[in-house]
Symmetry: C2
Subunit: 234 residues, 2 copies
DNA sequence: AGGAATTTGTGCGTATGTATC
DNA sequence: AGATACATACGCACAAATTCC
């Protein structure tokens, strides 16, 4: 199975294939997959390639692999659980999450957010988060304006919290999460997999700094398909 | 490099080797590793084996791998950040975390914990959490006694929250975390890498169920070395 | 109880693709 | 454009865990 240049690697194609099968309930929870060699032969690919795909699924929590026994689907079929159990950071389960800053603006605090900080203004940081290159969530972080006058995009290249600590002397010791449903925001870039206005899981977080002040508030909209993978961890 | 039976797989040995080098600052942040073929030849192993080790380091956030360029160390050298930035769930970044139940007992609620639930008793679940087989954290979860009379160890084999949802009709929609320092508990099994009484990062979490009630309180003690790897995520 | 068959895990070597320098 | 370096893919051999008879 050779591929035209520019297309997805074979092992990722297999991942997508199986993910769709699981999402569509063609592969149900607990189901045992055929032996790897058999599957590979059927798909016309090498065992090693299939194994790489299966390893990826395992890291997403969709599959349990037992030496000497087999590969078993582990997915929560009840879609309700998606909204109940996932947590923001658990998204790390699918690989190292990356954060790409879309834009930063200093604005008057909008109404509707929980109270935070002492300033009337705040920095709005919009980021797109990816898992293995695939857009997984959109983030809007509101950092109180009293900590710094302006934020440059380059400052955040590494890690937001690293920037907080190193540049602002600020770190988060407490956080409160609220899980719910939200609508895909207007400003969502076209890469995000959901149409604008569609309902998706939303986490609202109020973060408290080491001095006791509420320093920031963040909103995170998840691609529901991603949120599902995340759901079964823990 | 063949190995005596019972020893760690070669690729994990390499992981441990490099992790120690990074932790000890023999490999510093930003440093570029030699080419893979060269490293593999020097170590007397196959390139594929080395690559598996490097991929593991990448998934832990310790390494950045750039096609066509090289492998670069990415580690936070400042140990302070350990206590400032890690979060419980981020531990998922190093692979699928596993949870092994040590024991479960129904006890009178101890003082000193946040108020939760309606019963005077609670189930105390003690777990050890591992990353890639290595003990990473100890957990003590106190689930209010009103939800169920008794909990069997086998019930929790899969996932604690799966048990909550499937058996108890209970799920967590909100959680409040408190980050601080704690002492390694007396009951820590010998596998936990810190001497008893030593100060380690501690997360205290109060979890709120879908009906608004505080259903459980949990304490998590982290191996500080693990917490360090976790720190740079996000 | 025990051994054979099955199935996944590890490790090696090689060829080719693709991004970077 | 060429050289370098990582990414993908293939196939094979053996180890280790599980399952089955």
């Amino acid at each position: 199975m050779n591929q035209p240049p520019g297309s997805l690697p074979v092992y990722l194609q297999i991942v997508e294939l199986l993910v769709r099968d699981i999402a569509a309930n063609r592969l149900i929870d607990g189901e045992k997959l055929p032996p790897e060699r058999e599957m590979a032969a059927e798909m016309g690919i090498a065992v090693g390639t299939l194994r790489k795909a299966l390893a990826e699924l395992q890291s997403r929590g969709l599959l349990e692999r037992v030496q000497g026994s087999g590969n078993y689907v582990r997915a929560i079929s009840d879609p309700q659980s998606v909204y109940a159990m996932f947590r923001l950071e658990l998204i790390g389960g699918g690989g190292l999450p990356t954060a790409e800053v879309l834009d930063i603006e200093r604005l008057a605090k909008p109404s509707g957010l929980p109270d935070f900080g002492s300033s009337a203004e705040a920095h709005r940081i919009r980021r797109i988060r990816r898992l293995s290159g695939k857009p997984a969530a959109l983030e809007e972080i509101w950092l109180d304006g009293s900590y710094v006058e302006a934020i440059d995009t380059n400052d955040l290249s590494e890690s937001l919290y690293l920037y907080y600590r190193k540049r602002l002397g600020l770190w988060i010791v407490r956080a409160e999460d609220q899980v719910g449903l939200g609508k895909v925001p207007e400003w969502a870039p076209p890469v995000f997999g959901q149409p604008k206005g569609a309902p998706v899981p939303l986490v609202t977080r109020a973060s408290q700094a080491q001095d006791g002040a509420r320093a920031e508030v963040s909103l995170t909209w998840f691609d529901p398909e991603i949120a599902r993978y995340v759901a079964r961890l823990r």
